[in-house]
């Protein structure tokens, strides 16, 4: 497979630049987090989304603020794409009071219900079920809101996938399942963990509409999601989009990254970088100049730098608040 983003086909320049900006924001935030991790400033885990930015960006471009997203352990990108401010994501990983979970969660527990980020999860599976439940709420309340679940190939073999997609199907729930198939769960290849790596075909076996897409091509993801969100919001039941992609960094920062995939494989995928692909396409199709694109990059970098500084200068939470909000009262 060869990622070749065709920029001009059907999207206008504003949209394309906004996708570019969106992906770049995620990338720059992740790069900042990698550096912070390496400096020892992130006390817990850090799973980056580097290489997969096209997916969150392309999908969330179709969401309203009152639509909801349920994400995974690899959720920084989804948070950012759904509208969580960069300083709140970085602040959360630094364990600060200003983090989107007030420092309680860290990388795998990002919450920002205000913008529809209903949580990332440290456990593989629950997001599939919860997103189905949000869709049930919307159906019961007769709202045209959409619930989106991002999940990895690793979750497909978990019972939660089976139970969630089946219930979504029988009740025609407005949930969009987005499988980010990056071919590995930690170091275990998807092709080892199942005899059927075709997630679209699996969706079909539950009676759920689906399509697959090059997950490194943001335009393709954007177009597929347009259709998918339309289907779901229109009350035609659940939909699954399988995005074939790759993470180019280790499973988590600080982990050894050898023995389960070849350097060659990694470099090949690096050449299909979704951000570079869009940039090249915009440039080749003469839709944007090098200067325009660099200007965007500079602005994004500046924003992320500022966000990092804000986060770094934010206070840690007060230990006396460690037990607040266990219950509603």
């Amino acid at each position: 497979m060869q990622t070749e983003t065709h920029a001009g086909a059907d999207l206008n320049l504003d949209t394309l630049l906004s996708l570019y900006r969106g992906m770049l924001s995620i990338r720059k935030i992740e790069e900042a987090l990698v550096r912070l991790y390496q400096l020892g400033h992130i006390p817990g885990a850090c799973h980056t989304y580097i290489g997969q930015e096209a997916i969150a960006t392309g999908v969330c471009a179709h969401l309203r603020q009152d639509d909801v997203v349920f994400s995974t352990h690899r959720g920084h990108g989804h948070a950012v794409a759904k509208g969580v401010p960069p300083e709140e994501v970085i602040g959360e990983l630094l364990g600060r009071m200003t983090g989107c979970s007030r420092g309680r969660g860290g990388s795998m527990h990002l919450f920002s219900p205000e913008v529809g980020l209903m949580g990332t999860t440290g456990i593989v599976g629950p997001n599939l079920l919860q997103s189905t439940g949000a869709a049930l709420s919307f159906q019961l309340l007769r709202l045209d809101r959409v619930s989106v679940c991002f999940f990895g190939d690793g979750a497909v073999n978990n019972g939660a996938f089976h139970e969630a997609i089946n219930m979504a199907a029988i009740w025609d729930l407005p949930v969009l399942f987005v499988c980010e198939n990056n071919m590995y769960a930690t170091e275990v290849p998807f092709a080892y963990a199942t005899r059927n790596t075709d997630v679209v075909a699996r969706a079909a076996s539950y009676g759920v509409a689906s399509q697959d897409v090059d997950g490194n091509d943001v335009v393709a993801v954007f177009n597929a999601s347009a259709q998918a969100v339309d289907h779901v919001r229109g009350g035609r039941g659940p939909y699954l989009v399988e995005c074939r992609t790759y993470r180019t960094r280790p499973h988590a920062e600080g982990m050894r990254d050898v023995g389960y995939r070849t350097q060659d494989e990694v470099s090949q995928w690096k050449q299909r970088d979704p951000i570079a692909a869009l940039r090249t396409a915009l440039y080749n199709d003469a839709m944007a100049t090098e200067e325009q694109l660099s200007a965007i990059e500079e602005r994004v970098t500046a924003t992320v730098d500022a966000a990092r500084e804000t986060a770094e200068s934010s206070p840690f939470p007060d230990p006396s608040t460690a037990t607040s909000h266990i219950f509603s009262e």
């Binding site: 309680r104 456990i123 599939l128 079920l129 049930l136 619930s147 019972g159 219930m167 009262e329």
Partner: protein, 327 residues
């Protein structure tokens, strides 16, 4: 006051809350047209329809996880799970998600979910349909756990549970379902609060704290003992989380002796917690060691003589209280 059964009372409470608030809905296996394995929803399907009384596949983890998401987004699910044993498959959702959701989101999400169903030994239900397991949900933070023992409490606590923004485990001992008792009229709208024990019988010699079905057994025992002049105060905490230690300690201050009667297993159970709290906070008021009467520490057998041997009964309780008084 009129007399109705425990199940009728709880059903009335559910009905009232569903009428009051259209965001309340029920899921479970056979809770739709069928009206529930224990008649918990009988007649409600006709009133509220298949959207709000939703039969599910056999996917306990799935529908509890689903309802977690629903509770986060504006509706108020009631999961009718039949037997606690079945939802052990949903423990991950209950502990990692439901219990922690408000905390993880710094209070910006609420978790108005009720899980209701049967616990307890009885009727040769055997080891996959007799579980109690509530002590674990008092051990981990994040749950309200109620064990009503009278029809009136069943109704009032279920109404409180449904209105609560916190997750509630509402546990009905299977042998209580058909018991009858006084319940205020439907228009009374009585809510019974969590964490408020009920002194079911007053006494001055011994405090007996009993849970679930054991409240009834202990009341029987107290009746018998009264004939010998032993006056037992019987306390039904009604909720195990929060636990009303105030009422328990007040009673102890009066009696100086305490027995805890719990059908559930002893080790690291509710009795252990109460005994430890009493030892910690009222050490000097104890005239004798706190005693625990528990179900035998074994999987629950099927055959009636075996089953009877593993649950405390009136006589076991009487024996324990006599011994305690003699100390």
């Amino acid at each position: 006051m009129r007399e109705i059964t425990y199940t009728e009372a709880a059903r009335e409470g559910l009905d009232e809350e569903m009428a009051r608030d259209s965001s309340v809905f029920v899921v479970g296996e056979g809770i739709g047209k069928r009206g529930g394995n224990f008649n918990t929803t009988l007649g409600l399907f006709d009133k509220y329809g298949p959207q709000r009384l939703r039969d599910t596949p056999i996917a306990e983890r799935g529908f509890i996880g689903m309802c977690t998401g629903a509770a986060m987004t504006g509706t108020r699910p009631v999961v009718d799970f039949m037997f606690f044993d079945f939802i052990l498959d949903a423990t991950g959702e209950m502990i990692n998600q439901i219990a922690k959701m408000q905390y993880m989101s710094s209070g910006r999400l609420k978790m108005p979910i009720v899980l209701r169903g049967c616990v307890g030994v009885g009727g040769s239900s055997a080891t996959h349909h007799s579980g109690n397991y509530y002590s674990f949900y008092s051990h981990v933070p994040g749950w309200r756990v109620v064990l009503p023992t009278t029809p009136r409490d069943a109704k009032g606590l279920l109404k409180s549970a449904i209105r609560s923004d916190d997750p509630v485990l509402f546990l009905e001992h299977k042998l209580l379902l058909n018991t009858r008792g006084e319940v205020p009229d439907p228009d009374v709208d009585e809510l019974i609060p969590f964490g408020k024990a009920s002194v079911r019988r007053e006494g001055t010699d011994v405090t007996a704290v009993a849970f679930g079905m054991m409240v009834n057994r202990t009341l029987e025992a107290a009746e018998t003992l009264a004939q010998d002049g032993i006056r037992v105060e019987v306390i039904d905490p009604r909720s195990v989380a929060p636990l009303d230690m105030e009422t328990i300690l007040e009673s102890l201050a009066k009696t100086g002796r305490m027995v805890i009667v719990d059908e559930d297993y002893g080790p690291a159970g509710m009795g252990a917690e109460i005994a430890a709290l009493v030892a910690d906070r009222a050490f000097d008021e104890l005239d004798a060691p706190v005693r625990r009467v528990n179900g035998v520490h074994t999987p629950i057998p099927y055959s009636p003589p075996l089953e009877a041997a593993v649950v405390p009964n009136r006589d076991t309780i009487i024996g324990a209280i006599r011994d305690l008084v003699a100390e």
